[in-house]
């Protein structure tokens, strides 16, 4: 057995429980779950952008592990290939050539984009299909494709534009944080592959500690605004970034500065739902009550007589 010590990586996380069962669910789309007896330790993937060399090993490892492939495209005048997330590409590198206005130095900012596994997942909130999107007590947000109906509400719910709907089986796909690997005590395929350990995985606490060390190191190298990206707007995420310029995340290929579930979605999934049901109910009830009170509006014999009289006039 290996006896390596990675100062750069957190101490081994012994308390990652094996197996992720229905008993570990804390959230379930369009339905409720009884909170698990014992919560799992929250896990997180930390992506240190300052260590990332944009080699795309994570992309390849992701495709290989998930038995997916993506078509051979063309060059678009950049290193961004494949160009965007698809139902098969759960993660892509986004390359930005940014000239630092202070130093006038070129900085090649390379961000691994993919599901952030929000503590408060907009996709799950938006999903109409019971159990199609679930969240485990360790923080992983996962799609259950047997239950997914492909409505695309998750796309509208997501503050990071992550889920993609397959045109083949019309189901939504995104990074699972390799729930299948985590379930047997392994890290996600991308973290496993990452040559520079820019991607590390462990308990969220360890990852935050690790991030602090990294941020200290970066500050010592002159990145005064180095910091952790764990946006509170979505209750924090289980995929976090270390950024050399945490004060302006948007320079990293438009990483949202303060992401939150869109108020429109909140309104749609909140107020509208209840008010709507109430309104429809109300109308039905009013009708009922009215009928009981006033009774049916019947045609009287006089009316018929009048009608005959009116028409009779022409006989």
């Amino acid at each position: 057995m290996a006896n390596f010590e990675f100062v750069t990586s957190p101490a081994p996380t012994k308390d990652i429980k094996v197996g992720l069962g229905d008993g570990d669910l804390v959230k379930r789309s369009a339905s409720t779950v009884s909170p698990p007896a014992k919560s799992l330790t929250p896990v997180a993937k930390l992506i240190d952008v300052s260590k990332c060399i944009g080699c795309k090993a994570c992309e390849v490892a992701c495709l290989e592990w998930n038995d997916k492939r993506t078509p051979v495209g063309i060059n678009h005048g950049s290193y961004d290939n494949p160009l965007d997330l698809t139902p098969d590409m759960f993660t892509v590198m986004r390359f930005t050539e940014w000239v630092n206005p202070q130093s006038q130095n070129l900085e090649w900012l390379i961000r691994k984009d993919g599901c952030m596994h929000c503590e408060d997942p907009g996709c799950l909130k938006a999903c109409p299909a019971p159990g199609a999107i679930v969240q485990y007590s360790n923080g992983i947000v996962d799609f259950d494709h047997d239950k997914c109906i492909g409505c695309g509400y998750c796309v509208k719910g997501c503050p990071f534009n992550i889920p993609r709907i397959s045109q083949v089986d019309h189901k939504a796909y995104k990074c699972t944080l390799c729930s299948d690997r985590v379930a047997v005590g392994q890290g996600p395929a991308c973290a496993h592959a990452c040559p520079t350990h820019a991607i590390v995985f462990g308990t969220k606490d360890d990852m935050k500690k690790h991030a602090d060390d990294r941020i200290k190191d970066l500050k010592s190298r002159g990145f005064a605004n180095a910091g952790l990206y764990d946006p509170p707007g979505v209750g924090g995420t289980h995929v976090m970034y270390v950024l050399h310029h945490a004060d302006q995340p948007q320079i990293y290929a438009n990483l949202p500065k303060d992401p939150r579930i869109s108020p429109i979605v909140e309104l749609w999934k909140g107020m509208t739902k209840y008010a709507g049901l109430a309104a429809m109910g109300a109308f039905a009830v009013i009708g009922l009550v009215h009928h009981v009170v006033t009774g049916a509006n019947r045609v009287s014999p006089e009316d018929e007589a009048n009608a005959e009289k009116l028409t009779g006039g022409r006989r």
């Binding site: 750069t8 060399i53 080699c55 795309k56 495709l63 950049s78 290939n81």
Partner: protein, 808 residues
């Protein structure tokens, strides 16, 4: 690599120059990020392009391709000028104090003894002045001491001169020089990570020497976290080189005799390597033991003392070497009939593709053994613009033999850090693919049978070749590995005490110290001896223990020589055997013997004050002045590439490396800056591996299409649209590619002239899963390094214009 991948974590400063480790060796580059994160190490990248390595560097400085020597000699000049020299190291472990012969000199870019006709030097003056005792005279203060000559030689490379030649802004150069010079203290080390960015030049060897000299001056050779670390390209190119699969080599860096060496004695006479300083080890004194043991491994009982151990069985060279460039040239002249390629795709790898195609077409037969359908095996197939050849008029018979890939075979590979690692087969070969060992055995068995049946010229070397395998038709990797390691053919006695038996007949050798020159031992490759001993297959060892986390992993696999993990490790301690840096101990003298974390490269009981660390040199010291070892000078000197956008500022008359070999007809094939204004360079991308991964669907999707990279300024000048098609052409050919317009390439100002760089990645061809494309070798010049003939891929001239897509 003098050190190992895992040792890089011990460094304080990483200089990536002449390479792009993050892009080409990501998992090795991990150890740079470890050093940064754990030791606060800094990373400097010097490159014409802002590379993936640069993207995580602490400091990046641009440089014009092909001017590294000027830059490095500039840094040496800075270190000497600012007394940033590790004097104790330099005085004790380098030849700085040695006195050079009267008459040696350097002027107008040429060293003494140049013969323009032969494009070669008479190197007789490039040597030490010997005393009557036969030892080198030593006096640091002497005007002709190596140190004083060096001081004078580098004095011209001032920061201003560096800026003129390299286009590196003075302030950036000074910042780099200052950061590097900090490592002259015994407690700070720097590591140099380089690759083909330095080798693929007409003066590639001297690029590397320049940095090696700098590392010696800083005292960084032989120490943890230091060294000269060549990042080898392919998974076993180190092994193929160690095993001498080259025109002029015998396994273990012994050399093939020339025809001037008619007998074994004449052959040995120039390989005695008598010590040049008192008590030196001069390890090559054992040359004959290695050589004879090799001959015995080859020809067994047919190699006897009587026939000089079958000395005549070896072919003798009439030229320095029949390297790839020379053989392709001969092919082009129609002087070659047959060619066999084993897992190699020269049509895309060798320079000047037009010339190659013509050359192959003149062959009678071409045999290709490869797990993949290579372009070389299909050079005769017409693929439109991508390979426009007159198929029917090509009379070459081509035989393609399917071989297995790594996943299906077993054996050992040597990594860049000289670790021999064993691997096991896990998959069934597809179709009728067979192991290369089987294929070679089959060819040999058939050839042997034909000679036994029909006879023919000199059949002996073939029919007597030792081939004692359980199944001669299919030797097993283990059998071959045992043969490489070597064994005792007879009982071997202690030389000092003939009654004492040190090794029993038939036993595997544990160390090359047991080799004999009397035919009692056989070993295929002496430097590998110890890899497969009586204790078993040392290459298959998998212990991950690493006492005190030095990064040595001494019980993981086997590292040549003698399982040594860091070469010249004796130099990690001062002249008295005390480690330079207590926090980074490697070896130390405990009063009676050497002890520490690694196998000492000098005798374990040899006194520190007496024996120098550089045991392969007769003087026991390292060489700032390399005597006559290199064809193009004992010191590196700046020469422009053969195709350069500017003239040589230092020696305007000299074009390219004055002794680089240029074949007739190729000189005319060089373009000049008027015709071809842009400085091109070729390189790899991290998504691909040479011409292999274009056969891998997943890699193809990561980097699908051939492109070239240019600056925004050049794009504007030529109104080239990002993502649009361009045509790039040189004197030798033309390609079409997508344009990637980027800030990562910036125009340089060299000697007042604006130089635009055109970057050309090399991964595309007409076979595989990627979009069809071209390789840079359609454009590159046919000239190699003066010493080892590595083609000049990194610096050549092109022109560029917008165009429309190819018609496939």
């Amino acid at each position: 690599m003098t050190n190992s991948w895992t040792d890089i974590k011990n460094t304080d400063l990483v200089v990536i120059m002449g390479g792009n480790a993050a892009e080409a060796h990501p998992c090795g580059f991990k150890w740079v990020t470890e050093a940064k994160a754990n030791r606060g190490a800094k990373l400097i990248v010097v490159d014409p392009r802002f590379t993936r390595s640069a993207s995580v560097a602490d400091f990046y400085a641009p440089i014009r391709q092909g001017t590294d020597i000027a830059f490095l000699l500039g840094v040496i000049n800075y270190c000497i000028g600012n007394d940033k020299v590790q004097w104790d190291y330099v005085k004790a472990f380098t030849n700085a104090p040695y006195i050079i012969k009267e008459g040696f000199g350097y002027q107008d870019g040429l060293f003494t003894g140049y013969d323009e006709e032969r494009r070669d030097y008479n190197r007789s003056t490039w040597d030490y002045e010997l005393g009557d005792d036969g030892y080198v005279k030593s006096d640091l203060e002497h005007p002709r001491s190596v140190w004083n000559l060096l001081k004078k030689h580098v004095s011209v490379y001032t920061p201003e001169m560096v800026e003129r030649i390299c286009g590196t802004p003075k302030d950036k150069f000074l910042k780099v020089a200052q950061m590097i010079s900090e490592c002259s203290t015994p407690t700070k080390t720097m590591t140099s990570m380089y690759a083909l960015g330095w080798t693929q030049h007409s003066k590639g060897s001297q690029n590397i020497r320049a940095m090696a000299m700098l590392q010696l001056i800083l005292g960084n050779i032989g120490v943890r976290g230091g060294g000269m670390n060549a990042l080898r390209g392919h998974s076993n190119i180190q092994g193929l080189t160690d095993l001498g699969l080259m025109s002029n080599l015998i396994p273990g860096y012994l050399t093939i005799p020339t025809e001037k060496e008619a007998t074994l004695d004449t052959y040995m006479s120039t390989r005695g390597f008598k010590p040049l300083r008192p008590n030196q080890m001069s390890y090559w004194q054992n040359y004959k033991k290695f050589f004879v043991s090799f001959q015995k491994a080859m020809w067994g009982n047919a190699a006897t003392a009587e026939n000089s151990f079958a000395y005549d069985y070896l072919p003798k060279l009439d030229v320095p070497s029949y390297d790839m460039l020379r053989i392709m040239e001969l092919m082009h002249q129609g002087k070659v009939n047959g060619y066999m390629c084993q897992g190699f795709n020269p049509l895309l790898s060798a320079p000047n593709r037009k010339k190659l195609t013509a050359a192959f077409a003149k062959l009678k037969f071409l045999v290709v053994m490869d797990p993949l359908q290579t372009e070389t095996a299909r050079f005769w197939q017409n693929h439109g613009e991508y390979n426009d050849v007159p198929t029917s008029s090509i009379q070459t018979e081509v035989i393609e033999l399917p071989s297995t890939c790594f996943a299906e075979d077993e054996g050992s590979l040597v990594n860049s850090g000289r670790w021999l690692q064993w691997h096991w087969a896990g998959g069934t070969p597809p179709g009728e693919a067979r192991h290369d060992t089987w294929i070679m055995a089959q060819i040999f068995q058939r050839l042997k049978a034909l000679y036994q049946k029909e006879g023919g010229p000199a059949p002996e070397p073939i029919v007597n070749l030792s081939w004692n395998y359980k199944d001669p038709n299919d030797p097993t990797p283990e059998e071959l590995a045992r043969e490489i390691n070597g064994s005792a053919l007879e009982d071997v006695a202690d030389p000092n005490d003939p009654t004492k038996l040190v090794l029993q007949k038939g036993k595997q050798l544990a160390t090359f110290a047991l080799l004999r020159d009397d035919g009692k031992t056989a070993a295929g490759c002496w430097i590998y001896t110890g890899c497969f001993t009586e204790a078993g297959n040392m290459m298959a060892r998998r212990s991950t223990s690493d006492p005190d986390a030095t990064g040595a992993y001494s019980n993981w696999a086997f590292s040549w020589p003698a399982n040594r993990r860091i070469l010249y490790n004796r130099a990690s301690a001062d002249i008295n055997g005390k480690p330079w840096d207590d926090s980074r101990k490697l070896l130390w003298w405990d009063g009676a013997k050497w002890t520490g974390y690694d196998i000492p490269d000098i005798g374990p009981t040899m006194k520190p004050t007496e024996v120098g660390p550089f045991i392969m040199n007769p003087e026991g010291t390292s060489r700032l002045f390399t005597r006559g070892m290199m064809r193009d000078g004992p010191f590196p000197a700046h020469y422009e590439p053969f195709e350069s956008p500017v003239a040589n500022v230092i020696a305007p008359k000299v074009r390219g490396n004055p002794v680089a070999r240029v074949f007739k007809g190729d000189m005319e094939q060089f373009g000049d800056a008027k015709e071809f204004p842009y400085a091109a360079t070729s390189y790899r991308l991290t998504e691909h591996f040479h011409f292999w991964t274009k056969h891998s669907q997943v890699n193809a999707s990561m980097q699908p299409e051939f492109f070239v990279e240019i600056s925004e300024q050049l794009a504007k000048e030529k109104n080239i649209a990002n993502g649009g098609w361009v045509r790039v052409w040189s004197k030798r050919g033309s390609v079409k590619a997508k344009a990637v317009v980027t800030k990562r390439i910036q125009p340089l100002t060299c000697d007042g002239k604006t130089v635009h760089v055109v970057g050309i990645p090399l991964h595309w061809g007409f076979m595989g899963e990627t979009k069809k494309g071209f390789g840079p070798n359609s454009l590159t010049p046919y000239v190699g390094d003066a010493n080892i003939e590595t083609p000049e891929y990194k610096a050549f001239l092109v022109d560029i214009e917008p165009t429309t897509g190819p018609v496939a």
